[in-house]
Symmetry: C2
Subunit: 264 residues, 2 copies
Amino acid sequence: MIAVNLTFLPSISPPPYEQYAKVIIEEGIKVAETAGGPAAIPIIKMYKEAGIFVIHKCTSIRHAQAAEKVGVDMLSIDGFECAGHPGEDDVGGLLLLALAARKLKTPYIASGGIGDGRGLAAAIALGAAGVNCGTVFMATKESYVHDNIKQAMVQADERSTTHIFRTLRNTARVFKNKVAEEVVAKERRPGGVEFPEIAPLVSGARGKKVYDNGDPDAGVWSASGVMGLIDDVPSCEELLKRMERDAEKVLLESAAKVKRESKL
Amino acid sequence: MIAVNLTFLPSISPPPYEQYAKVIIEEGIKVAETAGGPAAIPIIKMYKEAGIFVIHKCTSIRHAQAAEKVGVDMLSIDGFECAGHPGEDDVGGLLLLALAARKLKTPYIASGGIGDGRGLAAAIALGAAGVNCGTVFMATKESYVHDNIKQAMVQADERSTTHIFRTLRNTARVFKNKVAEEVVAKERRPGGVEFPEIAPLVSGARGKKVYDNGDPDAGVWSASGVMGLIDDVPSCEELLKRMERDAEKVLLESAAKVKRESKL
Protein backbone atom coordinates (compact mmCIF):
# COMPACT_ATOMS: atom_id res chain seq x y z
CA MET A 1 0.00 0.00 0.00
CA ILE A 2 1.26 3.48 -0.83
CA ALA A 3 1.02 6.10 1.91
CA VAL A 4 2.09 9.72 1.62
CA ASN A 5 3.58 12.12 4.17
CA LEU A 6 3.16 15.89 4.11
CA THR A 7 4.98 17.85 6.79
CA PHE A 8 4.13 21.48 7.50
CA LEU A 9 7.18 23.26 8.80
CA PRO A 10 9.10 26.43 7.97
CA SER A 11 10.86 25.85 4.65
CA ILE A 12 13.16 27.85 2.36
CA SER A 13 10.72 27.23 -0.52
CA PRO A 14 7.35 26.24 0.97
CA PRO A 15 5.56 23.72 -1.28
CA PRO A 16 1.92 24.37 -2.34
CA TYR A 17 0.56 22.07 0.38
CA GLU A 18 -3.11 22.32 -0.52
CA GLN A 19 -2.43 21.43 -4.17
CA TYR A 20 -0.27 18.49 -3.04
CA ALA A 21 -3.13 17.30 -0.83
CA LYS A 22 -5.61 17.55 -3.73
CA VAL A 23 -3.38 15.35 -5.89
CA ILE A 24 -3.03 12.84 -3.03
CA ILE A 25 -6.84 12.67 -2.79
CA GLU A 26 -7.37 12.49 -6.57
CA GLU A 27 -4.83 9.68 -6.88
CA GLY A 28 -6.83 7.60 -4.43
CA ILE A 29 -4.19 7.36 -1.69
CA LYS A 30 -5.74 5.59 1.32
CA VAL A 31 -3.27 6.47 4.10
CA ALA A 32 -1.64 9.84 4.69
CA GLU A 33 0.72 11.11 7.36
CA THR A 34 0.63 14.72 8.46
CA ALA A 35 3.09 16.48 10.73
CA GLY A 36 3.92 19.98 11.83
CA GLY A 37 1.96 22.85 13.30
CA PRO A 38 -1.56 24.22 12.97
CA ALA A 39 -1.09 24.40 9.16
CA ALA A 40 -1.74 20.65 9.17
CA ILE A 41 -5.32 21.09 10.47
CA PRO A 42 -7.06 22.16 7.18
CA ILE A 43 -5.23 19.41 5.29
CA ILE A 44 -6.30 16.81 7.87
CA LYS A 45 -9.90 17.99 7.35
CA MET A 46 -9.52 17.66 3.55
CA TYR A 47 -8.14 14.14 3.94
CA LYS A 48 -10.87 13.06 6.35
CA GLU A 49 -13.61 14.34 4.02
CA ALA A 50 -12.02 12.20 1.29
CA GLY A 51 -12.10 9.12 3.54
CA ILE A 52 -8.34 8.89 3.95
CA PHE A 53 -6.85 7.21 7.06
CA VAL A 54 -4.76 9.96 8.68
CA ILE A 55 -1.73 9.39 10.90
CA HIS A 56 -0.66 12.63 12.55
CA LYS A 57 2.88 12.85 13.90
CA CYS A 58 3.52 15.22 16.79
CA THR A 59 5.98 15.87 19.56
CA SER A 60 3.70 16.78 22.43
CA ILE A 61 0.59 15.59 24.21
CA ARG A 62 -1.22 18.89 23.72
CA HIS A 63 -0.65 18.82 19.96
CA ALA A 64 -1.80 15.20 19.87
CA GLN A 65 -4.97 16.19 21.72
CA ALA A 66 -5.59 19.03 19.23
CA ALA A 67 -5.24 16.55 16.34
CA GLU A 68 -7.62 14.14 18.09
CA LYS A 69 -10.27 16.86 18.04
CA VAL A 70 -9.97 17.14 14.25
CA GLY A 71 -10.54 13.38 13.99
CA VAL A 72 -7.19 11.85 13.05
CA ASP A 73 -7.26 8.06 13.01
CA MET A 74 -3.85 7.46 14.54
CA LEU A 75 -1.12 9.46 16.23
CA SER A 76 2.62 9.07 15.90
CA ILE A 77 4.18 10.30 19.13
CA ASP A 78 7.65 11.61 18.51
CA GLY A 79 9.99 11.87 21.50
CA PHE A 80 12.99 14.12 22.00
CA GLU A 81 15.31 11.40 20.65
CA CYS A 82 13.94 11.64 17.11
CA ALA A 83 15.78 12.73 14.00
CA GLY A 84 14.38 15.76 12.23
CA HIS A 85 12.01 17.96 14.21
CA PRO A 86 11.57 17.08 17.90
CA GLY A 87 9.65 20.27 18.70
CA GLU A 88 10.64 22.61 21.50
CA ASP A 89 9.38 20.74 24.57
CA ASP A 90 12.22 18.22 24.88
CA VAL A 91 10.32 15.37 26.50
CA GLY A 92 12.04 12.01 26.04
CA GLY A 93 10.07 9.09 24.61
CA LEU A 94 10.15 7.05 27.81
CA LEU A 95 8.11 9.75 29.56
CA LEU A 96 6.16 11.10 26.57
CA LEU A 97 4.76 7.66 25.71
CA ALA A 98 3.80 6.93 29.33
CA LEU A 99 1.88 10.23 29.21
CA ALA A 100 0.33 9.30 25.85
CA ALA A 101 -1.00 6.08 27.36
CA ARG A 102 -2.86 8.12 29.97
CA LYS A 103 -3.93 11.16 28.00
CA LEU A 104 -4.82 9.97 24.50
CA LYS A 105 -7.90 8.14 23.28
CA THR A 106 -6.62 7.57 19.73
CA PRO A 107 -4.26 4.65 18.98
CA TYR A 108 -0.64 5.76 18.68
CA ILE A 109 2.66 4.54 17.38
CA ALA A 110 6.01 5.48 18.91
CA SER A 111 8.65 7.49 17.07
CA GLY A 112 12.14 8.56 18.01
CA GLY A 113 15.04 6.65 19.47
CA ILE A 114 13.80 3.21 18.47
CA GLY A 115 16.20 1.06 16.49
CA ASP A 116 15.96 -2.49 17.75
CA GLY A 117 13.75 -5.12 19.30
CA ARG A 118 14.17 -3.78 22.83
CA GLY A 119 12.98 -0.35 21.73
CA LEU A 120 10.00 -1.95 20.00
CA ALA A 121 9.19 -4.02 23.10
CA ALA A 122 9.44 -0.94 25.32
CA ALA A 123 7.15 1.00 22.97
CA ILE A 124 4.55 -1.78 23.19
CA ALA A 125 4.85 -1.70 27.00
CA LEU A 126 4.30 2.07 26.79
CA GLY A 127 0.98 1.47 25.09
CA ALA A 128 2.03 2.03 21.46
CA ALA A 129 0.41 -0.02 18.71
CA GLY A 130 3.71 -0.06 16.83
CA VAL A 131 6.77 1.99 16.00
CA ASN A 132 7.80 4.52 13.38
CA CYS A 133 11.51 4.22 12.55
CA GLY A 134 13.55 6.42 10.25
CA THR A 135 17.25 6.33 11.02
CA VAL A 136 17.67 2.53 10.99
CA PHE A 137 16.12 2.32 7.52
CA MET A 138 18.69 4.77 6.14
CA ALA A 139 21.35 2.14 6.82
CA THR A 140 19.69 -0.74 4.95
CA LYS A 141 20.67 -2.34 1.65
CA GLU A 142 17.58 -0.94 -0.10
CA SER A 143 18.13 2.66 1.08
CA TYR A 144 19.09 5.04 -1.72
CA VAL A 145 21.68 6.91 0.33
CA HIS A 146 25.32 6.56 -0.71
CA ASP A 147 27.21 3.67 0.89
CA ASN A 148 29.70 6.10 2.48
CA ILE A 149 26.83 7.56 4.47
CA LYS A 150 25.62 4.12 5.55
CA GLN A 151 29.16 3.39 6.75
CA ALA A 152 29.32 6.78 8.52
CA MET A 153 26.15 5.73 10.36
CA VAL A 154 27.68 2.38 11.36
CA GLN A 155 30.71 4.26 12.74
CA ALA A 156 28.64 6.95 14.50
CA ASP A 157 27.25 6.59 18.01
CA GLU A 158 24.43 7.97 20.14
CA ARG A 159 26.39 11.21 20.62
CA SER A 160 26.84 11.89 16.89
CA THR A 161 23.89 14.25 16.47
CA THR A 162 23.26 17.88 17.25
CA HIS A 163 20.34 20.32 17.27
CA ILE A 164 20.30 23.12 14.70
CA PHE A 165 17.68 25.92 14.50
CA ARG A 166 17.21 25.73 18.28
CA THR A 167 17.37 29.53 18.61
CA LEU A 168 14.89 29.92 15.73
CA ARG A 169 12.36 27.69 17.55
CA ASN A 170 12.40 25.26 14.65
CA THR A 171 14.76 22.71 16.20
CA ALA A 172 16.07 19.89 14.02
CA ARG A 173 18.24 16.94 15.03
CA VAL A 174 20.90 16.28 12.41
CA PHE A 175 24.17 14.38 12.03
CA LYS A 176 26.89 16.30 13.87
CA ASN A 177 29.23 17.37 11.05
CA LYS A 178 31.19 20.51 10.14
CA VAL A 179 28.20 22.26 8.57
CA ALA A 180 25.90 21.57 11.51
CA GLU A 181 28.57 22.74 13.95
CA GLU A 182 29.00 25.94 11.93
CA VAL A 183 25.25 26.58 12.13
CA VAL A 184 25.21 25.95 15.88
CA ALA A 185 28.24 28.24 16.39
CA LYS A 186 26.48 31.05 14.52
CA GLU A 187 23.31 30.50 16.55
CA ARG A 188 25.28 30.71 19.81
CA ARG A 189 27.07 33.91 18.83
CA PRO A 190 26.19 36.95 20.94
CA GLY A 191 23.02 38.32 19.34
CA GLY A 192 22.29 35.01 17.60
CA VAL A 193 21.64 34.61 13.91
CA GLU A 194 18.91 35.42 11.40
CA PHE A 195 17.86 32.60 9.09
CA PRO A 196 19.04 34.18 5.79
CA GLU A 197 22.65 34.06 7.01
CA ILE A 198 22.59 30.30 7.57
CA ALA A 199 20.22 29.44 4.70
CA PRO A 200 23.08 28.65 2.28
CA LEU A 201 24.54 26.18 4.82
CA VAL A 202 21.31 24.27 5.40
CA SER A 203 19.79 24.14 1.91
CA GLY A 204 18.09 20.93 0.87
CA ALA A 205 20.18 20.89 -2.31
CA ARG A 206 23.34 20.56 -0.19
CA GLY A 207 21.73 17.91 1.99
CA LYS A 208 20.86 15.92 -1.13
CA LYS A 209 24.54 15.92 -2.12
CA VAL A 210 25.31 14.06 1.11
CA TYR A 211 23.06 11.17 0.07
CA ASP A 212 23.98 11.27 -3.65
CA ASN A 213 27.75 11.77 -3.49
CA GLY A 214 28.52 10.23 -0.11
CA ASP A 215 30.29 13.19 1.49
CA PRO A 216 28.94 13.36 5.06
CA ASP A 217 30.15 16.98 5.32
CA ALA A 218 28.43 18.25 2.14
CA GLY A 219 25.41 19.63 4.01
CA VAL A 220 23.10 19.01 6.95
CA TRP A 221 21.28 15.68 7.08
CA SER A 222 18.79 14.15 9.50
CA ALA A 223 19.82 11.27 11.72
CA SER A 224 19.12 10.27 15.31
CA GLY A 225 21.27 8.81 18.06
CA VAL A 226 19.82 5.46 17.01
CA MET A 227 23.05 5.35 14.98
CA GLY A 228 24.56 3.99 18.21
CA LEU A 229 22.45 0.86 17.66
CA ILE A 230 23.49 0.44 13.99
CA ASP A 231 26.32 -2.09 13.64
CA ASP A 232 25.70 -3.33 10.09
CA VAL A 233 23.74 -2.63 6.89
CA PRO A 234 21.06 -5.35 6.67
CA SER A 235 18.27 -5.68 4.15
CA CYS A 236 14.93 -4.25 5.29
CA GLU A 237 13.64 -7.80 5.63
CA GLU A 238 16.56 -8.82 7.86
CA LEU A 239 16.17 -5.66 9.95
CA LEU A 240 12.44 -6.16 10.48
CA LYS A 241 12.72 -9.88 11.21
CA ARG A 242 15.48 -9.19 13.74
CA MET A 243 13.48 -6.43 15.45
CA GLU A 244 10.36 -8.56 15.56
CA ARG A 245 12.15 -11.68 16.84
CA ASP A 246 14.07 -9.72 19.50
CA ALA A 247 10.97 -7.81 20.63
CA GLU A 248 8.99 -11.04 20.98
CA LYS A 249 11.80 -12.62 23.01
CA VAL A 250 12.06 -9.56 25.25
CA LEU A 251 8.30 -9.36 25.83
CA LEU A 252 8.03 -13.05 26.70
CA GLU A 253 11.07 -12.94 28.98
CA SER A 254 9.84 -9.76 30.68
CA ALA A 255 6.42 -11.28 31.35
CA ALA A 256 8.11 -14.40 32.76
CA LYS A 257 9.60 -12.16 35.47
CA VAL A 258 6.11 -11.46 36.83
CA LYS A 259 5.67 -13.63 39.91
CA ARG A 260 1.98 -13.70 40.76
CA GLU A 261 1.33 -14.17 44.42
CA SER A 262 -0.72 -17.21 45.36
CA LYS A 263 -4.47 -16.63 45.24
CA LEU A 264 -5.16 -19.59 47.59
CA MET B 1 18.67 -1.61 55.00
CA ILE B 2 20.39 1.78 55.03
CA ALA B 3 22.18 2.82 51.86
CA VAL B 4 24.07 6.06 51.33
CA ASN B 5 24.54 8.23 48.25
CA LEU B 6 27.56 10.45 47.61
CA THR B 7 27.50 12.55 44.44
CA PHE B 8 30.65 14.21 43.12
CA LEU B 9 29.71 17.36 41.25
CA PRO B 10 30.75 21.00 41.28
CA SER B 11 29.39 22.54 44.48
CA ILE B 12 29.43 25.96 46.13
CA SER B 13 30.90 24.34 49.28
CA PRO B 14 32.39 20.97 48.29
CA PRO B 15 32.02 18.46 51.12
CA PRO B 16 35.06 16.48 52.33
CA TYR B 17 34.12 13.43 50.24
CA GLU B 18 36.90 11.13 51.40
CA GLN B 19 36.11 11.75 55.05
CA TYR B 20 32.42 11.12 54.37
CA ALA B 21 33.33 7.84 52.68
CA LYS B 22 35.47 6.79 55.66
CA VAL B 23 32.54 7.35 58.02
CA ILE B 24 30.25 5.35 55.70
CA ILE B 25 32.73 2.46 55.83
CA GLU B 26 33.28 2.71 59.59
CA GLU B 27 29.53 2.72 60.24
CA GLY B 28 29.22 -0.60 58.43
CA ILE B 29 26.98 0.61 55.56
CA LYS B 30 26.54 -2.28 53.11
CA VAL B 31 25.22 -0.46 50.00
CA ALA B 32 26.47 2.85 48.63
CA GLU B 33 25.53 4.86 45.57
CA THR B 34 28.08 7.00 43.80
CA ALA B 35 27.47 9.50 41.02
CA GLY B 36 29.30 12.20 39.19
CA GLY B 37 32.59 12.45 37.37
CA PRO B 38 36.05 10.89 37.72
CA ALA B 39 36.18 12.09 41.35
CA ALA B 40 33.94 9.11 42.13
CA ILE B 41 36.60 6.57 41.09
CA PRO B 42 38.85 6.69 44.22
CA ILE B 43 35.77 6.55 46.46
CA ILE B 44 34.41 3.53 44.55
CA LYS B 45 37.80 1.84 45.12
CA MET B 46 37.62 2.62 48.86
CA TYR B 47 34.10 1.18 49.08
CA LYS B 48 35.01 -1.96 47.16
CA GLU B 49 38.03 -2.62 49.41
CA ALA B 50 35.64 -2.37 52.36
CA GLY B 51 33.27 -4.93 50.77
CA ILE B 52 30.46 -2.45 50.10
CA PHE B 53 27.96 -3.12 47.26
CA VAL B 54 28.37 -0.10 44.97
CA ILE B 55 25.67 1.27 42.66
CA HIS B 56 27.13 3.88 40.31
CA LYS B 57 24.74 6.32 38.66
CA CYS B 58 25.73 7.79 35.31
CA THR B 59 24.27 9.46 32.28
CA SER B 60 26.27 7.86 29.49
CA ILE B 61 27.42 4.48 28.24
CA ARG B 62 31.09 5.46 28.23
CA HIS B 63 30.96 6.57 31.88
CA ALA B 64 29.15 3.34 32.75
CA GLN B 65 31.90 1.35 31.03
CA ALA B 66 34.56 3.30 32.95
CA ALA B 67 32.79 2.47 36.23
CA GLU B 68 32.54 -1.21 35.19
CA LYS B 69 36.34 -1.29 34.94
CA VAL B 70 36.65 -0.15 38.56
CA GLY B 71 34.37 -3.00 39.61
CA VAL B 72 31.03 -1.43 40.53
CA ASP B 73 28.35 -4.00 41.34
CA MET B 74 25.45 -2.25 39.65
CA LEU B 75 24.86 0.72 37.39
CA SER B 76 22.02 3.22 37.47
CA ILE B 77 21.56 4.53 33.93
CA ASP B 78 20.16 8.01 33.99
CA GLY B 79 18.48 9.29 30.81
CA PHE B 80 17.97 12.85 29.64
CA GLU B 81 14.53 12.97 31.30
CA CYS B 82 15.95 12.85 34.82
CA ALA B 83 15.73 15.50 37.50
CA GLY B 84 19.03 16.85 38.75
CA HIS B 85 22.08 16.23 36.58
CA PRO B 86 21.44 14.60 33.19
CA GLY B 87 25.00 15.19 31.94
CA GLU B 88 25.75 16.93 28.67
CA ASP B 89 25.02 14.16 26.14
CA ASP B 90 21.22 14.48 26.10
CA VAL B 91 20.35 10.89 25.23
CA GLY B 92 16.79 9.96 26.20
CA GLY B 93 16.16 6.88 28.33
CA LEU B 94 14.38 4.95 25.59
CA LEU B 95 17.58 4.95 23.52
CA LEU B 96 20.13 5.03 26.35
CA LEU B 97 18.71 1.90 27.98
CA ALA B 98 18.54 0.02 24.66
CA LEU B 99 22.25 0.85 24.30
CA ALA B 100 22.93 -0.22 27.89
CA ALA B 101 21.40 -3.63 27.15
CA ARG B 102 23.94 -4.10 24.37
CA LYS B 103 27.04 -2.46 25.79
CA LEU B 104 27.10 -3.22 29.52
CA LYS B 105 28.00 -6.42 31.33
CA THR B 106 27.00 -5.18 34.79
CA PRO B 107 23.34 -5.30 35.90
CA TYR B 108 21.67 -1.88 35.68
CA ILE B 109 18.60 -0.07 36.91
CA ALA B 110 16.85 2.66 34.92
CA SER B 111 16.62 6.27 36.12
CA GLY B 112 14.91 9.32 34.70
CA GLY B 113 11.42 9.85 33.39
CA ILE B 114 9.88 6.86 35.16
CA GLY B 115 6.85 7.54 37.31
CA ASP B 116 4.37 4.75 36.79
CA GLY B 117 3.85 1.09 35.96
CA ARG B 118 4.24 1.59 32.22
CA GLY B 119 7.62 3.24 32.73
CA LEU B 120 8.66 0.37 34.99
CA ALA B 121 7.47 -2.21 32.42
CA ALA B 122 9.33 -0.39 29.64
CA ALA B 123 12.50 -0.29 31.74
CA ILE B 124 12.27 -4.05 32.30
CA ALA B 125 11.82 -4.53 28.53
CA LEU B 126 14.90 -2.36 28.05
CA GLY B 127 16.92 -4.81 30.10
CA ALA B 128 16.91 -3.00 33.44
CA ALA B 129 16.80 -4.97 36.68
CA GLY B 130 14.63 -2.27 38.23
CA VAL B 131 14.06 1.46 38.41
CA ASN B 132 15.37 4.39 40.39
CA CYS B 133 12.69 7.04 40.94
CA GLY B 134 13.07 10.43 42.57
CA THR B 135 10.38 12.87 41.54
CA VAL B 136 7.36 10.64 42.27
CA PHE B 137 8.57 10.07 45.83
CA MET B 138 8.68 13.82 46.49
CA ALA B 139 4.89 13.86 46.11
CA THR B 140 4.15 11.11 48.64
CA LYS B 141 2.58 11.39 52.09
CA GLU B 142 5.86 10.43 53.78
CA SER B 143 7.95 13.00 51.90
CA TYR B 144 9.27 15.81 54.11
CA VAL B 145 8.66 18.54 51.52
CA HIS B 146 5.98 21.13 52.30
CA ASP B 147 2.46 20.23 51.13
CA ASN B 148 2.36 23.36 48.89
CA ILE B 149 5.23 21.87 46.89
CA LYS B 150 3.50 18.49 46.62
CA GLN B 151 0.42 20.31 45.29
CA ALA B 152 2.61 22.34 42.86
CA MET B 153 3.89 19.00 41.54
CA VAL B 154 0.34 17.67 41.09
CA GLN B 155 -0.52 20.84 39.13
CA ALA B 156 2.69 20.80 37.04
CA ASP B 157 3.08 18.87 33.82
CA GLU B 158 5.85 17.35 31.69
CA ARG B 159 6.81 20.82 30.44
CA SER B 160 7.27 22.34 33.90
CA THR B 161 11.04 21.85 34.10
CA THR B 162 14.04 23.67 32.68
CA HIS B 163 17.79 23.19 32.45
CA ILE B 164 20.04 25.52 34.39
CA PHE B 165 23.87 25.55 34.28
CA ARG B 166 23.76 24.31 30.66
CA THR B 167 26.35 26.90 29.56
CA LEU B 168 28.57 25.97 32.52
CA ARG B 169 28.55 22.31 31.40
CA ASN B 170 27.03 21.29 34.72
CA THR B 171 23.45 20.99 33.48
CA ALA B 172 20.69 20.47 36.05
CA ARG B 173 16.99 19.86 35.46
CA VAL B 174 14.90 21.85 37.93
CA PHE B 175 11.33 23.02 38.39
CA LYS B 176 10.68 25.90 35.99
CA ASN B 177 10.09 28.85 38.32
CA LYS B 178 11.06 32.53 38.44
CA VAL B 179 14.51 31.85 39.89
CA ALA B 180 15.35 29.15 37.33
CA GLU B 181 14.16 31.37 34.50
CA GLU B 182 16.33 34.22 35.80
CA VAL B 183 19.37 31.91 35.81
CA VAL B 184 18.62 30.72 32.26
CA ALA B 185 18.14 34.32 31.05
CA LYS B 186 21.54 35.29 32.47
CA GLU B 187 23.16 32.24 30.87
CA ARG B 188 21.69 33.17 27.48
CA ARG B 189 22.82 36.78 27.69
CA PRO B 190 25.44 37.75 25.08
CA GLY B 191 28.73 36.70 26.64
CA GLY B 192 27.01 34.31 29.03
CA VAL B 193 27.49 34.31 32.79
CA GLU B 194 30.16 33.36 35.32
CA PHE B 195 29.04 31.19 38.21
CA PRO B 196 29.65 33.73 41.02
CA GLU B 197 26.98 36.01 39.56
CA ILE B 198 24.26 33.36 39.76
CA ALA B 199 25.51 31.63 42.93
CA PRO B 200 23.19 33.66 45.21
CA LEU B 201 20.19 32.56 43.10
CA VAL B 202 20.98 28.85 43.17
CA SER B 203 22.22 28.36 46.73
CA GLY B 204 21.17 25.19 48.51
CA ALA B 205 19.97 27.30 51.44
CA ARG B 206 17.37 28.94 49.18
CA GLY B 207 16.38 25.57 47.68
CA LYS B 208 15.84 24.23 51.21
CA LYS B 209 13.38 27.08 51.89
CA VAL B 210 11.23 25.76 49.03
CA TYR B 211 10.79 22.43 50.80
CA ASP B 212 10.54 23.87 54.32
CA ASN B 213 8.27 26.89 53.77
CA GLY B 214 6.34 25.76 50.70
CA ASP B 215 7.14 28.70 48.42
CA PRO B 216 7.89 27.14 44.99
CA ASP B 217 9.66 30.37 43.94
CA ALA B 218 12.00 30.59 46.94
CA GLY B 219 14.92 28.99 45.10
CA VAL B 220 15.82 26.33 42.54
CA TRP B 221 14.66 22.77 43.22
CA SER B 222 15.07 19.49 41.37
CA ALA B 223 12.10 17.87 39.66
CA SER B 224 11.57 16.02 36.42
CA GLY B 225 8.81 16.04 33.81
CA VAL B 226 7.48 12.98 35.64
CA MET B 227 5.35 15.62 37.38
CA GLY B 228 3.07 15.16 34.36
CA LEU B 229 2.31 11.67 35.69
CA ILE B 230 1.60 12.85 39.25
CA ASP B 231 -2.13 13.28 39.87
CA ASP B 232 -2.30 12.70 43.62
CA VAL B 233 -0.18 12.37 46.77
CA PRO B 234 -0.27 8.69 47.74
CA SER B 235 1.64 6.95 50.52
CA CYS B 236 4.86 5.28 49.39
CA GLU B 237 3.16 1.92 49.90
CA GLU B 238 0.23 2.90 47.65
CA LEU B 239 2.60 4.31 45.02
CA LEU B 240 4.76 1.21 44.92
CA LYS B 241 1.83 -1.22 44.91
CA ARG B 242 0.21 0.71 42.06
CA MET B 243 3.41 0.79 40.02
CA GLU B 244 4.04 -2.91 40.59
CA ARG B 245 0.46 -3.94 39.81
CA ASP B 246 0.31 -1.78 36.65
CA ALA B 247 3.73 -2.95 35.44
CA GLU B 248 2.74 -6.61 35.90
CA LYS B 249 -0.51 -6.03 33.99
CA VAL B 250 1.33 -4.23 31.16
CA LEU B 251 4.02 -6.92 30.88
CA LEU B 252 1.48 -9.75 30.78
CA GLU B 253 -0.73 -7.92 28.27
CA SER B 254 2.25 -7.03 26.09
CA ALA B 255 3.47 -10.63 26.02
CA ALA B 256 -0.05 -11.77 25.10
CA LYS B 257 0.30 -9.73 21.89
CA VAL B 258 3.09 -12.04 20.72
CA LYS B 259 1.56 -14.40 18.17
CA ARG B 260 3.96 -17.27 17.65
CA GLU B 261 3.72 -18.71 14.16
CA SER B 262 2.82 -22.37 13.96
CA LYS B 263 5.80 -24.71 14.14
CA LEU B 264 3.85 -27.57 12.44
